[in-house]
């Protein structure tokens, strides 16, 4: 089965990930810009990072037959540095012109401070001005419900097309309001600590598979890119068909990401040959 990893931090992972993903059917990954584990001080550090994910990573992925796409953003954890954020934002348009950059992400909120909200607004407005897709990070654990509500409030005050915005890391507490407001949502699956493959399938069964993306966790912390394949196994073990799995784990990423014409992988429909009459 062909799979798309819509949220994958390749720079934190080894080539062995690419090899194993390729062997398990992954045909494309999309890499949002994220936090490096420390707060960066210089705009140039971001610019080189964006060059790495827009120029170098596609070549590394290509060695395993995997397409690599990316997003650019200043992580919400670094939004307290307003001067830095504004300076980095000025460079976004040059990356929007790169052949594999799909838009702005992951922007969003961490502690939902005023500076974070201002940064989120600036990121979304810039994306809309340049007709880009947006990927929004919502806070984890105890901050999730409040932070997600705040994200929705910020977006409600802006002139946005909800179909072009993906609100990520939703859980049972937050999926409903995000879908009701017309946005795409994403589950991020961790080996422990956050959303699990089983709970993700529960939510798919409850809310249906429209406007829904499933990502593994793949970063420099405790994470596992193959939680995505575990989720597919769980989905199939509950009796859902291969085509239904393809709709969620391949075609939905094509539908959302494909709103940017640079993402040219098309949805798949399995056809069964008619029996040959003898």
């Amino acid at each position: 089965m062909q799979i798309i990893q819509p949220h994958y931090h390749a720079i934190a992972r080894t080539a062995q990930d690419y090899e194993r993903m390729a062997m398990s059917g992954v045909v494309a990954v999309a890499e949002p810009a994220f936090w490096a584990g420390f707060d960066r001080r210089y705009p140039e550090t971001f610019i080189d990072y964006f060059r790495q994910i827009s120029e170098f990573e596609p070549t590394r992925a290509a060695q395993y037959g995997i397409r690599h796409f990316c997003w650019v953003a200043v992580n919400p954890k670094e939004a307290e540095n307003v001067e830095l954020t504004n300076e980095v934002l000025k460079h976004f348009p040059e990356f929007f012109a790169k052949p594999t950059c799909l838009g702005v992400g992951e922007t969003g909120l961490h502690k939902a401070t005023k500076n974070e909200c201002d940064s989120l607004q600036a990121h979304v407005e810039l994306a809309m001005k340049h007709n880009q897709l947006v990927l929004i990070h919502t806070p984890h654990l105890a901050d999730k419900a409040h932070g997600t509500k705040k994200v929705l409030e910020v977006l409600a005050g802006l002139n946005v097309d909800p179909q072009r915005i993906w609100i990520d890391h939703v859980e049972e507490q937050t999926i409903g309001p995000c879908l009701d407001a017309g946005y795409w949502v994403g589950f991020t699956l961790y080996p422990i600590t956050k959303c699990s493959p089983r709970r993700a399938v529960d939510m798919i069964e409850k809310y249906g598979s429209e406007r829904l993306l499933v990502n593994s966790s793949a970063d420099w912390g405790p994470s596992d890119p193959f939680t995505l394949q575990q989720c597919i196994m769980e989905f199939r073990s509950r009796g859902h068909t291969v085509q239904e799995a393809i709709e969620v784990f391949h075609n939905n990423p094509c539908r959302f990401l494909g709103q940017n014409p640079k993402f040219d992988i098309q949805p798949i429909r399995i056809e069964v040959d008619a029996p040959v009459s003898v």
Binding site: L141, T193, S196, R199, D202
Partner: protein, 76 residues
């Protein structure tokens, strides 16, 4: 060896996760009942055991410890 505070902090997220898994398991059962329209004759024995296990966890620890008590419960 860890201090009491270290014990709590070291594995809190993992145990929070396990409780959410139990909640999701019970929700899944309720959803299946609703979807199929099946009317069970009482609570299934395995779910009753889990309910009793949760009561063991809520109660003060016995002399032999909660883990021992749960293993005894599941061995019945």
């Amino acid at each position: 060896m860890l201090s009491p505070h270290q014990v709590v902090e070291k594995d809190y997220l993992e145990h929070r996760y396990m409780l959410l898994e139990i909640a999701a398991y019970l929700d899944r059962y309720d959803a299946a009942l609703q979807r199929t329209g099946e009317v069970p004759v009482g609570t299934p024995a395995k779910l009753k055991l889990l309910d009793q296990a949760l009561a063991v966890l809520r109660a003060p620890a016995s002399e032999k410890g909660r883990t021992y008590d749960l293993l005894e419960l599941f061995a019945k």
